[in-house]
Symmetry: C3
Subunit: 201 residues, 3 copies
């Protein structure tokens, strides 16, 4: 099941990367590179931190071909992309949810403790976006006042990890973790919910 | 002993990260993320380069909880932080000294040659700050004319590594390496000592 | 043979890093750091992704000393550098060609599939430059409309990998891959050839 969710996360994140790149006016190479960076960045960092080899996109090599293809197609049809751009928040939120739960689950499988597993969930969920921001030379939204993002991943990862320790079916924990992350993110965007920032006087 | 020094370096660097984030006006998530990035960035790179697993903050998992806690507390009391902000240079210099020596020592333990061990000292000492700068979208001070920084780490790592090969007690080498790095850094800041930069004509 | 090519790539890339740093007015520490980052960045990422240890610059430790020396000498003679700066494009193109083929070759040796090997070629060839750009706080040229760069690496890696499967001598595949990359890059610079960028309407 985790493999299926990871696959969905890769597809959704690659689409998000393409949309982001197209808006920025990148050329086809930039679009493909950003699609790959967003789709594989977080999971790669997780795998390197946990010493899991081969990396998930080397093990499942069709991921690479598919993300590449999404980048190529996306670069070819920017007009169509513009129409779905209003939906940009949706693949981003879904990717966040899928990767957060997969990241935490993989860490637990690799024997990580609870705090480490939560961090791996957040890293897997958010790092693709951080790389994308750094590449586009923006302060990562993770580090600017902006609607809840890492927080959603953090809460979702905890929900998954705690439910997973109960007698509930594993699918319930996975589903609940993803749903909590996605809904929290969409709610935060809708009502512009921030965590507090208190500048030093 | 190295474990104790590493622990101190993590605590001091997390505090430095919190101060830096608070000055930049980051929200609580940004403060925590920057505290973690500064505290764990350099050592993580060292461990990945040397293939040391589990990573030091996965092995000693209380590091993660403590750095997280420092970020959380720091984000809650920016007013108190302002009062110690003049001291910003101190935790930075101490963190640099502690991490430089730990980085070099760990590399030697892992069988690295002298030049590699020095580089690992410098990477461990300075990379947390570089990540912090990149995240805050600034040219890392490592790459701008600014008071000696990497140089202090470089000299301190050499002092440690050379003394460590003598018949002196290991503690002397460790202490001297740290002291040289910290004092050199504070002196460089005080008298604004730069390494020369010669622009191409 | 691959070792010799890798060595040449390190030397050429370190020189490129020095020229780039000198133009930016970095001090001697910055010059050395940029030389190391450009020379070792791509290959390090490749080795980490493929779990090859020790890293290539830890295994061949003279690389480190030589790149460091190039940085040190370069920082001392910016006047002489200015004279060869018109040649900046050449070490960059050659480094791109050498690292792209070495990257792909090492990946194949490590058992990677064709798409992964191509990506490793491109990562090894281009990532040093991307790190350099991020450090200098510029949008990496990989992600801006600019003459073909990653594309040259991509094509060159394919040429090498496909020829390598034929009955031709291995040296032919290596030479052809490098030559195609270098020539394509120089031609793209000369006639300012871009891949198309289509901004979303």
């Amino acid at each position: 099941m985790l493999d299926g969710i990871e696959f969905a996360a890769v597809v959704v994140s690659a689409i998000y990367g393409v949309l982001r790149a197209a808006r920025k006016g990148l050329d086809v190479v930039g679009v493909i590179a950003l699609a790959l960076a967003v789709a594989f960045g977080g999971g790669t960092l997780r795998d390197l931190f946990l010493d899991r080899h081969p990396l998930f996109w080397i093990e499942h090599e069709h991921y690479l071909v598919i993300a590449f293809g999404i980048g190529l197609i996306g670069a070819a049809i920017p007009g169509r992309l513009a129409r779905i751009e209003k939906l940009l928040a949706l693949p981003d939120a879904i990717g966040l949810g899928l990767f957060s739960v997969v990241g935490a689950a993989v860490a637990v499988e690799a024997g990580a403790s609870l705090p480490v597993a939560v961090l791996m969930g957040v890293v897997t969920g958010t790092f693709g976006g951080v790389i994308g921001d750094v590449i586009c030379n923006e302060i990562p939204s993770l580090f600017r006042p902006s609607p809840l993002y890492a927080t959603c991943s953090f809460v979702g990862a905890w929900v998954y990890l705690l439910l997973e320790r109960t007698t509930l079916a594993s699918g319930v924990a996975v589903g609940a973790g993803i749903a909590v992350t996605v809904v929290l993110r969409l709610v935060a965007l809708k009502w512009n919910i921030h965590v507090p920032a208190r500048k030093m006087p």
